[in-house]
Amino acid sequence: MTAASKTQKMTLVQAVTQALKQEMERDESILVLGEDVGKDGGVFRATDGLIDAFGEERVMDTPLAESGIIGVSVGLAVAGYRPVPEIQFMGFIYPAVNQIFAHVARYRHRSRGQYPMPMVIRMPYGGGIHAPEHHSESYESMLANTPGLTVVIPSTPYDAKGLLISALRSDDPVIFMEPKRIYRSFREDVPEEPYTVPLSKAAVRREGNDVTIISYGSMMRPALEAADFLARDNISAEVIDVRTIAPVDVETIVTSVEKTGRAVIVHEAPTRSGFGAELSALINERALLHLLAPVQRVTGFDTVFPFAMMEAHYLPNRQRVVAAVQTALEF
């Protein structure tokens, strides 16, 4: 991005749409497909206008079948396209995991490099929008446990555009998890021109010395709010946005924890075998002697994601992050 490039205030979902549009203009091999991605522009409008710009051959409403959507995408990729399938909500990824885990993630390896799998599987994830059952889930841990996948979770409009463009230019399959809770909750300056944000690189969102708060996606909000709140008590929190959870950028995380000696991990998914476990294990392995307190996990409960009336109790918030930091400080 040149310093001179113009910017536009936009929301995260608008940044997603713009990235798709600009890359589809640049690269004719990109196809968008999924349930309601055409005329409807996606149930969250992430593909709004694409069918008008690129026609039904490149923006395809499909039958209602997630395994089918990903499975035909494998074939399209083999035959030279760069498919961008959408899973309407992450809660509906399960019917597609056979195709994703058994084929998408493995195709480059299985074919000894002959058929890499350039594909970006987009999906809104997470809670906080008062949605029905299965519309609020975060299943990133099983993705991070599957070798061959790149799993990206942006938390800002700027990153959403830059990371999605990187994903669309990558020759590896990328799962692009979009935090739907903050699809429209704020705007930020986003360059009009296409630009990339590197995959597999965490961002230090705020520097600090006393504790490292590590999060991603929509949980960056409570993480940053907690840092603000703690600052009032002169507690200086460093806040890291992991951005790509697989392959994860261990260096940025460990460097920070070496400095602060304390780590608090925040995500919406359940604790048990959630991605926070991997982060905690990595910190244990690489920064044990720097640790002044146990690594704290602030996560969703180990329950079903509750219905709308109860979700506020389930989701991590500023208070819980602050409490975890205090636990770490008082240890």
Partner: protein, 361 residues
Amino acid sequence: MGYKKLFRGETVRLEILNKDGKADKKSLPDISQDTMIQMYRYMRQMRAFDEKALNLQRQGRIGTYGSLRGQEAAQAGLAVNLNEKDDWLVPSFREHGVMMSLGVPMHLIYAYWKGDERGNISDKGIKCLPPSVPVGSQLLHATGIGMAMQKKGLPGVAVGFAGDGATSEGDFHEAMNFAGVFKARTLIYIQNNQWAISVPLKKQTAAESLAQRGWAYNVASMQVDGNDVLAVYEASRLALEHIRNGNGPYMIEAVTFRMGDHTTADDHSRYRTPDLIAYWEERDPIMRMKTFLINEKIMTQADDDAITNDVTKAVDSAVKELEAMPAPDPMHIFETMYAEKPWYLVEQQAMLRDELNQEKR
């Protein structure tokens, strides 16, 4: 040698009442006037429930809601044939009509859409499973229950509900195939409202009908005009008789039309024209049956007014019951996850309890 005929199949569609409420007399089912009025009453109750729900949603008193407007006949004509003691309902998320007709309390259905988990299930002894959101997945549960009914020699039939879109999922296929193989006492009941959110049926499948899919599994099937409650009645009756007589599963495709948005989170004007809506408005299942009942002198306008009064009252009192429900207990998040609560749920529950106690103070 050479070409041999291997398979030949035919699928039929049943229509009885036309859009103007005129019946094809020779096809009229053998049915009492009471049953006809009961079906009409069911439809009116559904419509009243639905209109109130849209109202409550607009006022923020419930959350996202999926309207069944237009699909009342497809649910009422089936409901009167079911037996709430023996038969199982395995609903998707648009079956409030058949659910309330079989006795699921309306306030619980409202509670479900309010985001209150107590709305998932009623304690009235009705064999109705909680709504299933992952499209198509519940059909296998209906097949499984139907297998159990078959094994146990019980009279019950499991009715698995799904939409046209759901028939594209692998689970539809597996449910039909298992049902065929195990002669499950299962009715696969497809409300083909012609749209899966914004996707019209012709993008969903290249086949001329969904009913003909029965042939792929040796599952008997037929299509019915789903806006014609008499035809739905007759098709359901035949299908249930077929199943109850031990002849294996059955599939019904009831062709209907979703009159409104997919849910209140949707805007159907993005993908459907006013003309199309107007076309279907003329084919409204309730008007049609009303005309028939009045023309045939089965019902008077005064009867109809009394029904209006009843269903409105019932809805109003359901709303009162809804709003009289005590606030749900946050502690319930941790309950019924396991027979016995694991240590970490005990810890997490204690944490939430502390938080809530602190807030109170």
